[in-house]
């Protein structure tokens, strides 16, 4: 053996080990924040998550106890309002991109959707504030839902388009060859085949906006009480967490931790649901 060759061999082995180790460290760093978030939330928030938290309204300052039921319900209401805008527009727009539009119009639409996906969420809050809150002279659940819906549209649009393009053309042809109209083919054959993927896209969009705070600051505004009038300011979990976390009261801090824990668990559950759905899809298409 040449001595130089042996040297090179050792150097190669070192480089290989170095790269392996670097990627391993990076992988650990990816997982660490999730672990830290869960650990921190559990340590600080678990003790305050109680039955009362899910059933009671916030108590006045200085009074111990109370919960965030209004914020939990408010967040669900805002998600529902956002979905009313985001799901139909996003899904139909995605179907248009995948099934109808011309190549040129499509590349433009796709570009616009990608730009919209990159718009900071607080911008949506400001835009809706200018367009709705100022015009109707008041913060409202509607305004908050609109801001969230606008964020959902490009997210759902792109995932819907992608899963619809994955449907093999043979199914469209088979359906059209039976004399089934184009729109019925798209609804009953193409979208049905892609339905799990579409639902997955919707759930991911909901998980994304469920924790949005910035777009709600100037729109839904938050509320310490029950509100069943959607034209009035409404509570939302992220807003309540924000308000409580920057307050000077220890009791409110504990509530904020608990709220954050509930929010993260909720979003985590949606993501688990997505995993289950996508796993079934992979299995059935195999």
């Amino acid at each position: 053996m040449h001595p130089r060759r042996k040297d090179q061999h050792g150097w190669r082995k070192f480089k290989s080990a170095f790269i392996s180790l670097s990627t391993f460290v990076a992988a650990v760093l990816v997982i660490t924040p999730l672990g830290l978030v869960f650990f921190h939330l559990l340590v600080n928030g678990a003790s305050s998550v109680s039955w009362d938290f899910f059933t009671q309204l916030p108590k006045p300052v200085g009074t111990p106890g109370g919960g965030m039921v209004n914020a939990i319900v408010g967040t669900l209401q805002l998600l529902a309002l956002g979905s009313l805008i985001g799901i139909p527009v996003g899904v139909l727009g995605g179907v248009y991109l995948a099934e109808y539009g011309s190549a040129r119009a499509n590349s433009m639409l796709r570009f616009i959707a990608d730009v919209l996906n990159g718009v900071p969420s607080i911008t949506w809050g400001v835009v809706v504030y200018g367009m709705v809150v100022l015009r109707f002279k008041g913060f409202s659940a509607y305004a908050g839902g609109l801001a969230l819906g606008l964020i959902m549209i490009p997210l759902i649009l792109r995932t819907t388009e992608e899963v619809i393009l994955l449907v093999p053309n043979g199914y469209r042809e088979a359906s059209l060859a039976l004399g089934i109209a184009r729109w019925k083919t798209i609804v009953h054959v193409v979208m049905k085949t892609a339905s799990k993927g579409i639902i997955t896209g919707i759930l991911l969009a909901l998980a994304r906006i469920g924790g949005e705070t910035a777009p709600l600051l100037f729109t839904a505004f938050g509320n310490r009480f029950w509100n069943h009038d959607l034209s009035q300011p409404i509570a939302a979990l992220p807003l309540q967490i924000f308000t409580y976390a920057i307050s000077p009261y220890d009791d409110w801090h504990r509530q904020a931790w608990a709220g954050a824990l509930v929010l993260v668990i909720g979003i985590f559950c949606v993501n688990v649901l997505v995993r289950i759905l996508t796993r079934e899809r992979a299995r059935s298409s195999a």
Binding site: Y171, A174, A177, L178, G179, I180, T193, S284
Partner: protein, 276 residues
């Protein structure tokens, strides 16, 4: 060079052909001077051809000769490719398929199609796959649907194999069964014609034999036009054969004549395997 004048079937010449009891042959399709363009490219060049009823007509020719395009022009499926243009006429039992007020969906209901790759809908059961064409065209009567389901599966020679599994997914069947399911699905809307685009090219010999046997049975009720790459298959299943080359119809006639005594040199070269 391709023959300048396509040879058109002389309907009165057919004394030895499959329906000896009828003097006059009925024609399902009368194609006159049909040309089809994809954008600038002419895929079919002035084809004139009559397709007889209740018989199997096979279309053969080398890859890219326009045989699939021709087949698809018979139920206007080629229109799904953007930028197609058609000249000439195609008459289905005397009616122009390309008339200005003709809905392609109606054409496709009358002229069914089976594809190269079996494509049962993955979200639907065996039964749903068969009845989907009827259901999406507005049929609600469950009794009627069930009757048609059994009838179609029987005609596709699949009923005995799947009658206890109608609720299982269509994609759970074997390749040959899936193709017969697709045939049943096409038959359920009661078309007058069944077009088949290389229906056996993805199947093993046993499954192929079953489909060919089925084609032979179906021709008593349907007119069948089949595109095939397999010369032996054309010889086995068809009554008439059309040979296409470079978008033109080179020769058309009874299969026995095309295969034993072709009039055109190119047909002979292709059939004997000298090119293609």
């Amino acid at each position: 060079m391709p023959a300048s004048d396509p040879i058109v079937l002389e309907t009165r010449d057919r004394t030895t052909e499959p329906t000896p009891d009828s003097e006059e042959m009925t024609l399902t399709f009368e194609v006159k001077n049909l040309s089809i363009w994809y954008g600038e490219k002419r895929a079919i060049d002035a084809v004139t051809l009559d397709i007889p009823s209740n018989a199997v007509t096979s279309i053969i020719g080398p890859s890219g000769c326009g045989k699939s395009t021709f087949l698809r022009s018979l139920n206007r499926m080629h229109e799904l490719v953007p930028g197609t243009r058609v000249e000439g006429t195609v008459l289905l039992l005397g009616e122009n398929l390309y008339g200005p007020s003709v809905d392609p969906a109606i054409v496709r209901r009358r002229v069914g199609m089976v594809f190269q790759k079996s494509n049962p809908f993955p979200t639907m059961s065996i039964g749903e796959n068969v009845t989907i064409g009827l259901r999406l065209n507005g049929v609600r009567d469950q009794k009627f649907l069930n009757e048609r389901l059994e009838k179609s599966l029987r005609m596709a020679a699949l009923w005995d194999e799947v009658k206890d599994d109608l609720r299982k997914p269509g994609t759970s069947l074997s390749g040959g069964q899936q193709q017969r399911l697709c045939i049943a699905r096409a038959l359920a809307v009661e078309p007058e014609v069944v077009l088949m685009d290389e229906p056996c090219s993805a199947l093993d010999p046993i499954a192929t034999a079953k489909i060919e046997e089925l084609i032979n049975e179906l021709k008593t009720k349907y007119t069948i036009v089949i595109v095939t790459h397999n010369m032996q298959q054309a010889g086995r299943v068809s009554d008439y054969t059309a040979f296409f080359y470079l978008g033109r119809l080179v020769e058309f006639g009874p299969t026995t004549k095309i295969f034993t005594n072709p009039s055109d040199r190119q047909t002979e070269d292709y059939i004997t395997g000298r090119f293609g």
